[in-house]
C-alpha cells in the first residue's frame, strides 16, 4: 500500500511471511495423513484442515505479493529451505498421531490468539482476512481440543505418547511468538495490535488449564523464544521442502 513507508512495509512483509509459512508448512506436513490417519473420519478431517491451512497460506502469500510487488506462487515455491520463516514448531516431521495432535493443539491456540489480535490490525486487508480465517479456525480448535481429551483419556499408552509430544515440542512451540526484527515498528503503527510476547502470555493462559484438565504436564521452561526462532531449519524440513517444491521445480516458470 502506498501509504506505508519502506521500513513499515518491510516489517509487514516479515509478519505476513512468518504467518504464511507457518500455515503452509504445517498444511503440508499434516496432509501426509490423508489415507493413513487412525480412522476414516480423521482421514477426511485432517485433509480438510490441511486444505484450510494451505488456503490461508495462499491468501497470506497473495497479500504479501501485493505489499512487496512479488508473485505469490514464486514466494511459496521459489525459495531454498533456509529462506522459509515458519516457527521451529513446524520443523518436525509428523511422527505418530499423538505427536501430530500435540503440535496441532499447541499451534491452533497460538494461531487463534494471533488472529484475534490481528482482527483489530490497522492494516485493513490483514484485519479483514484475520476475521474471516478466525471463523474457519474455530472448527480446528474444537476438533483438536477434542483429540487432546480423547488421547489423554484413551489409556496409558496414548496419554504417555501425548505427554511426550507436548514435552518435546514445548520449546519450539514458543517460537510461534519469536520476536520479529520489525516488530516495534508494527506495534507503533498498530498493524500488530499486541506485542508477540503479550500474545504468548495469552496463549499460555489458554492452553495451561486445558493441559491440566488432560492431566498433562505444563512445562515451565523455556521462557521467551529467541530471535532465531524462525530461522533455524532442519533436515526433516529440507526433505519436506524437496517434496512440496517437486512439481514447481520440474518446469520452472511454467504456467499451470
Amino acid at each position: 500500500m502506498s501509504t506505508l513507508d519502506a521500513t513499515t512495509r518491510d516489517a509487514l512483509a516479515e509478519l505476513l511471511l512468518a504467518m504464511a509459512d507457518d500455515e503452509f508448512v504445517l498444511g503440508f506436513w499434516d496432509s501426509e495423513w490423508t489415507g493413513i490417519a487412525p480412522i476414516l473420519e480423521e482421514d477426511v478431517a485432517m485433509s480438510s484442515v490441511s486444505q484450510d491451512e494451505i488456503g490461508h497460506a495462499r491468501a497470506l502469500y497473495e497479500l504479501l505479493a501485493e505489499v512487496t510487488g512479488g508473485d505469490a506462487d514464486r514466494i511459496a515455491f521459489g525459495r531454498p529451505p533456509e529462506g522459509y520463516r515458519h516457527a521451529a514448531l513446524m520443523n518436525h516431521a509428523r511422527s505418530d498421531w499423538a505427536f501430530t495432535i500435540a503440535r496441532r493443539f499447541l499451534y491452533e491456540h497460538a494461531d487463534a490468539v494471533r488472529l484475534e489480535s490481528l482482527a483489530a490490525s490497522s492494516y485493513q486487508p490483514l484485519a479483514d482476512l484475520a476475521v474471516k480465517m478466525r471463523r474457519e479456525e474455530t472448527y480446528h480448535i474444537l476438533h483438536f481440543d477434542l483429540w487432546l481429551k480423547r488421547l489423554s483419556e484413551g489409556g496409558d499408552e496414548s496419554h504417555a505418547r501425548l505427554a511426550a509430544g507436548i514435552e518435546r515440542l514445548w520449546p519450539d512451540a514458543q517460537t510461534v511468538f519469536a520476536p520479529l526484527a520489525g516488530e516495534g515498528r508494527l506495534v507503533d503503527a498498530r498493524i500488530l495490535p499486541d506485542t508477540l510476547e503479550v500474545m504468548r502470555a495469552r496463549w499460555l493462559e489458554r492452553i495451561g488449564p486445558r493441559l491440566e484438565a488432560a492431566h498433562l504436564p505444563v512445562p515451565t521452561t523455556p521462557g521467551s523464544p529467541g530471535a532465531d526462532g524462525r530461522t533455524q531449519r532442519t533436515d526433516e524440513f529440507a526433505w519436506l521442502h524437496a517434496e512440496f517444491t517437486m512439481v514447481a521445480r520440474s518446469e520452472e516458470g511454467a504456467t499451470w
Binding site: 478431517a45 484450510d52 495462499r58 476475521v131 474455530t138 474444537l142
Partner: protein, 175 residues
C-alpha cells in the same frame, strides 16, 4: 440514463443467477450469497470496466478460480462493458447466513441440510458449539440426527447421520 444503468445491472445479476456453484451445482452463485456486488466504472483510459465482488465461502475454497472463470466468461459474453474484473473480497466476511431462502431450499432438495442460522457476532466459538450438532435430515425432515464429522468432502460440508431414516447426509457448515 438511470433506467439504462439499472437494466444493465439487472442483466448482470440475472446472468450470475444462472451460474452454479461448481461443488454443489444445485445452488446458484447468487443464492449462495457469494456475489457481494456489481459495479460499472470508467477506467482511466476511458474504457468501461464491470467489477464483480466475489466473497469466498472459505478462504481456501478450490472452486474460487472456477467461479472466477465462469463469471468472466459469462459476463464477457453479455458485452456490457469493455472489461470484466472479478475482485475477491474479504472486506465483509462471507457467512453461511448469506445463503438466500431459495438457496437453502435448493440445498435441501438436492440432499444437503442447509446451515443453521448463526448470526454474525464476533464471538463465534460459543455459537458454533450450540449450532453444530443441530441438523435437519434433508430426506425425512427428522431432527433426530447426529454429527458424524465436522469435516466433509469439501471445506464447506459436514457429515451427519439420521437415526430415523438411517441415512448418512451432508450439511452445509455454519461458518
Amino acid at each position: 440514463m438511470v433506467a439504462v444503468a439499472l437494466s444493465r445491472e439487472a442483466a448482470v445479476w440475472a446472468a450470475l443467477a444462472e451460474l452454479s456453484d461448481p461443488e454443489i451445482p444445485a445452488i446458484s452463485l447468487v443464492d449462495l450469497g457469494v456475489i457481494g456486488g456489481v459495479a460499472f466504472a470508467e477506467r482511466p483510459d476511458g474504457a468501461e470496466r464491470l467489477t464483480v465482488e466475489l466473497m469466498p465461502t472459505f478462504v481456501g475454497c478450490p472452486a474460487i478460480e472456477v467461479m472466477r472463470e465462469q463469471i468472466t466468461e459469462r459476463l464477457g459474453a453479455l458485452e456490457l462493458a469493455d472489461e470484466v474484473v472479478v475482485h475477491l473480497s474479504f472486506a465483509e466476511p462471507w457467512t453461511s447466513d448469506r445463503i438466500t431462502p431459495a438457496g437453502r431450499e435448493a440445498l435441501r432438495s438436492s440432499g444437503f441440510a442447509p446451515p443453521v442460522t448463526i448470526g454474525s457476532g464476533s464471538v463465534f466459538s460459543g455459537e458454533l458449539l450450540t449450532a453444530l450438532p443441530i441438523a435437519t435430515c434433508p430426506y425425512c425432515a427428522s431432527r433426530n440426527t447426529t454429527l458424524e464429522n465436522p469435516f466433509g468432502p469439501t471445506l464447506c460440508r459436514a457429515i451427519y447421520h439420521c437415526a430415523d431414516c438411517r441415512q448418512p447426509f451432508e450439511a452445509f457448515k455454519p461458518v
